[in-house]
């Protein structure tokens, strides 16, 4: 099932939750909608599901108009952040719900429903919980049951709204891997919403980065990380150093200090320079684009993190290899291995 969204606009009062969104999702893809809260990602997901309606724009599934149908007819599996399980029903009945409410003419008989529910509970590896009530399950188990329930109706599309948002960090990581392998197994076109970049980059085939009701960039996890299309994407994904610079007649300045960086093809005016922390290479004083004094060094994990006060006034944090000798008080030069400059 391909999903196509054209020029979608949705306003809540004067706040534009979606401000002209175009997106195409191919059959069998696993797409992440990534953005900060208020970026419109959940609204977009709910409109695709039929739980919300746009002010204008189009949504089509395999070329047919989806907005002509309600949530009930769209045959879309939806997984909620807070599970939305039916708490008066057992796990078994929760999963069976979508099968039991089908019109009599197409409804499966009891034996077939039982077999299907069993199969789904096996799929989410929770068949031993069939007779429990949702309140007796852990968060991770509830979310897997919610997923099994959504899959029971053999949805054409699977939509997940911050599926791991309410879970603790360890369970989250497990479920991420599990979701990816599950998608590999059932291969249904899926979109999930998240504000966690690591989750998006680790799970999805393609990442859609959103901000303020607009799509900033669509690309593979590698694309959005390695070649961010905008200042927002660079700042939002991965940890970045951001410096306000001035571009004038082929020279980039930080404060009043010209930087030995190429300025080819850059528009003059106030700009922002972005560098990944680990792309700042430390060298002896006088050998690089930036000069600064090391303020503080902290050693943890695979790198050491140094706070450097640059000439020109800014203080930045860089990640240097552990074997590099750095001490507070050292005067060093910094050279960005890779950097990007965005106007504005």
């Amino acid at each position: 099932m391909t999903i196509e969204v054209k020029n979608l606009v949705k306003k809540f009062g004067i706040f534009a939750a979606l401000d002209g969104v175009d997106l195409k999702v191919d059959n069998g893809e696993l797409v992440a909608l990534l953005g900060p809260s208020g970026s419109g990602k959940t609204t977009l997901l709910r409109i695709i599901a039929g739980l919300d309606w746009p002010d204008s724009g189009e949504v089509s599934f395999n070329g047919e108009d989806a907005l002509a149908q309600g949530a009930r007819e769209r045959h879309v599996g939806f997984v909620f952040q807070h599970y939305a399980l039916f708490r008066h029903m057992t796990v078994f009945e929760n999963v069976a719900f979508g099968l039991r409410v089908q019109p009599r003419a197409v409804r499966k008989d009891e034996a077939a429903i039982r077999a299907r529910v069993k199969e789904l509970l096996d799929l989410v590896q929770l068949d031993w919980l069939a007779d429990r009530y949702p309140s007796q399950l852990s968060g991770g188990q509830r979310q897997r049951i919610a997923l099994a329930r959504a899959l029971a109706i053999e949805p054409r599309i699977l939509l997940l709204d911050e599926p791991f948002g309410a879970l603790d960090a360890k369970v989250r990581k497990e479920l991420r891997r599990w979701l990816r392998s599950l998608h590999h197994e059932i291969n249904v076109t899926s979109i999930f919403v998240t504000h966690d970049q690591e989750e998006a980059l680790e799970v999805a085939n393609r990442v859609v980065v959103m901000d303020k009701g607009r799509i900033e960039q669509v690309g593979s996890p590698e694309d959005v990380y390695e070649s961010p299309a905008s200042a927002f994407v660079h700042g939002f994904i991965g940890e970045s150093i951001e410096l306000p610079v001035q571009v004038e007649s082929g020279v980039i300045r930080l404060g009043d200090r010209p930087l030995a960086l190429a300025a080819d093809g850059l528009a003059p005016g106030a700009s922002r320079l972005f560098v990944r922390r680990h792309d700042m290479l430390v060298g002896p004083s006088g050998s690089g684009a930036f000069e600064g004094a090391v303020r503080q060094v902290r050693n943890f994990g695979p790198v050491q993190r140094a706070e450097v006060a640059l000439l020109g006034g800014e203080t930045i944090e860089i990640d240097a290899p552990r074997d590099k000798e750095l001490r507070a008080g050292d005067i060093v030069s910094l050279n960005p291995r890779r950097y990007r400059i965005f106007a504005g």
Binding site: A49, A71, F97, R100
Partner: protein, 261 residues
């Protein structure tokens, strides 16, 4: 602990025990004769029958009111929410007088109804109306917090799984609210059965027709037939106990079925 038990004993248990002891002064035959007299049976039938009917009406109307108060935002919502408590707060005699004035043949509502040939005041219908009036807050206040707790997302979940609106209501919403609805029903019923003040003004109090059991107790007392009065009281007490017990079981069932997350 000791204080709680002594206080409960003084306030509740000792008077009740006294009531039972008093009724023991009657022989079983006498007791049975009082209970099975036509006037007693009719009074009990009026109290329990109309009480149950009123509780059922309150269940339906109360649910609708709760739904509107919880799920919709409209001007004056807080005011309506406060008005629900009026039957709680109003002295029952005041309520009785007000309802009687309203439904009397010359009253605001009584006059148009009389034109249609419906007589409310001084008939069993009047008792019914008074019982509905005093019972409504019980249903609303019992169901309201449960519905507030009920996540609207579960309705969306049901819809996206293919359930029609009707299926969503009957299979998801009502079962989730059922324990609270049943508790509200039982409380409204218990209140309607025990109601005295507001009912006697509007009832007309015709023996065998519109005479409620609590009134019959008062009449027997004023005739100095204390044994008769206690016999009726004991029967009402037993039935009330059964209702409270049922409410308790329902609440236990509700808690075990739907523990808090």
């Amino acid at each position: 602990m000791g204080l709680t038990l002594s206080w409960l004993s003084v306030i509740i248990l000792i008077p009740l025990a006294g009531l039972f002891l008093r009724s023991l002064e009657l022989s079983p035959e006498q007791f049975w004769a009082i209970l099975s007299s036509r006037r007693t049976l009719n009074a009990l039938r009026v109290s329990f029958g109309l009480g149950f009917a009123a509780a059922c009406v309150n269940l339906v109307m109360g649910s609708i009111i709760v739904w509107a108060l919880v799920r919709y935002r409209f001007p004056g919502r807080r005011l309506f929410d406060a008005i629900v408590d009026v039957p709680f707060a109003l002295p029952t005699a005041v309520a009785g007088v007000a309802l009687t004035a309203l439904f009397a043949e010359k009253g605001w509502l009584g006059a148009p109804l009389a034109a249609l040939g419906i007589k409310v005041a001084f008939t069993p219908l009047g008792i019914f109306v008074a019982m509905i009036f005093i019972g409504i807050p019980f249903v609303v206040r019992t169901v309201q917090p449960v519905l507030q707790d009920l996540d609207p997302e579960i309705e969306e979940a049901a819809g996206s799984l293919g359930a029609s609106r009707w299926q969503t209501v009957t299979r998801v919403i009502l079962p989730s609210l059922a324990p609270a609805l049943l508790t509200g029903l039982a409380l409204a019923f218990a209140r309607a059965v025990g109601e005295y003040g507001s009912v006697i003004f509007i009832a007309g109090n015709l023996p065998n027709v519109s005479e409620i059991a609590p009134l019959l107790i008062v009449i027997r007392l004023s005739e100095f037939r204390y044994a008769d009065a206690t016999a009726i009281a004991v029967i009402m007490l037993v039935v009330s106990f059964v209702i409270i017990f049922a409410v308790n079981r329902l609440q236990r069932w509700a808690r075990s079925r739907i523990p808090k997350h």
